[in-house]
Subunit: 256 residues, 2 copies
């Protein structure tokens, strides 16, 4: 299978999810709390369902890992990873900052990633292949240069999402960074890819949270690894550090 | 002076600020840190400047309190309160969730408030006068009912903005609420007015941060006071608690 068809398919998945999500945004959608207290709605489930139907029809042999409905064929070499609404809290709060995340893993490594914001109609598509670029609505985006941690604008969704040790490590970074903004979910990584943030640090993300971010950040010239500097692959602990500039990444890693 | 011309003027101020801000959004705008470490940019200054010019020409006897350029005629009975970009961190991070805040105080009480999001082109206008409604782009919005704190979706911009005692009080509320979202600045109050959030709690806001919120929340049927349940007036400490439903407000106040 060529890369082009996968890209086309990924765009179709994002289109389909957006059509399910848009009419439910800022309506009285009920939320239930999952075991980790994070909310889920019928928008999450319906958007994942529509993407799974397309994959079942068009890529019947590929594996699927989805946030809401689990795994299919997890031993496949090609696996689609779906998070229908990353940032369900933001969706429920009426903020157009959540995202539909779609990734393709090949032998455990993310090679294609989509961050789609269906209300703003902003879609970032990245590829990790050599020469792969990250496009926002078809236009190339690039990270920005940042000389070091003390000049870096840092983002994380919530300090409450860190473990005890993780919180301490994050605190060391936040004290050294120029400034920190909270909230944002996947949108922070999109903004890093587009050159508006320098550093994003999060702990304990699931594969459906991080898989799509890797090609988007890497394709824009950024660096995204776990907290030890290793590439993020299927099975990773999901402690994520993403930077637009390698100098920031190196200085932050030293202090984690 | 009739109310109608003030409303028209407030809309002109928001239009003018938006025209200054829009072209600078997601561009390489430099930020400098204020003494409280919060960032300021030339977008903040230029947007406040354009609003002050209009007021100087059209309301030469009214007072002005602005975030960036201080006070004029602070003893006047009518005072315009301006925050050109509430949420400069969000503005810098490429998030269309900051807002231009415009309020009119009469004898210290906010009677007219505007929350304008110039990228989404969403504008909430509220009035506290009897029969005053809150309009989002000209359409009435209303808070939603919520039976109590345990069912409430809570928002605050950052837990780091609380003092020690304030942080403890906020923690008590957050533990009891159904869920909490971080980030959002003034947009949280707009979403409360539109019925997508139930409770917003913040501490130590300045008058330019809270004045516009009062008419927007009140006009939509919500309640917004200080942490002791008193109305917010010029000189208030700026510890703000806003709820869509009085039951949530009462239960939260008890636990502050």
């Amino acid at each position: 299978m060529h890369v082009e068809p996968d890209l086309v398919l990924a765009n179709r998945l994002a289109d389909a999810a957006g059509e399910v999500i848009r009419p439910l945004f800022r309506t009285a959608v009920e939320a239930t709390a999952k075991p980790d207290r994070s909310p889920v709605t019928r928008a999450d489930r319906a958007a994942e369902d529509v993407m799974r139907r397309i994959l079942a029809s068009d890529r019947p042999r590929d594996g699927i890992i989805g946030e809401e409905f689990g795994q299919e064929r997890p031993g496949a070499s090609r696996i689609w990873v779906l998070d229908p609404i990353d940032g369900t809290r933001a969706f429920l709060a009426g903020r157009p900052l959540f995202g539909t995340l779609i990734a393709l893993l090949v032998d455990g490594a993310p090679v294609l990633g989509v961050i789609d914001q269906p209300i703003l109609k902003e879609r970032w598509v990245g590829q990790t292949a050599a020469g792969g670029a990250t496009l926002l609505n078809g236009r190339k985006v690039r990270v920005r240069a940042c000389p070091g941690l003390s000049a870096a604008r840092l983002a994380t969704t919530s300090p409450w999402h860190f473990s005890g040790a993780g919180h301490a490590a994050f605190g060391r970074i936040a004290r050294l960074a120029a400034d920190t903004i909270l909230g944002g979910d996947c949108f922070n990584y999109a903004m890093l890819a587009s050159g508006h943030l320098d550093l994003v640090v999060e702990e304990g993300l699931k594969v459906h949270d991080w898989a799509a971010l890797v090609p988007v950040v890497a394709g824009a010239g950024g660096i995204i690894t776990d907290w030890r500097g290793r590439p993020l692959r299927l099975g990773a602990a999901g402690d994520v550090i993403a930077a637009g500039d390698r100098r920031v990444h190196a200085q932050a890693l030293e202090r984690m």
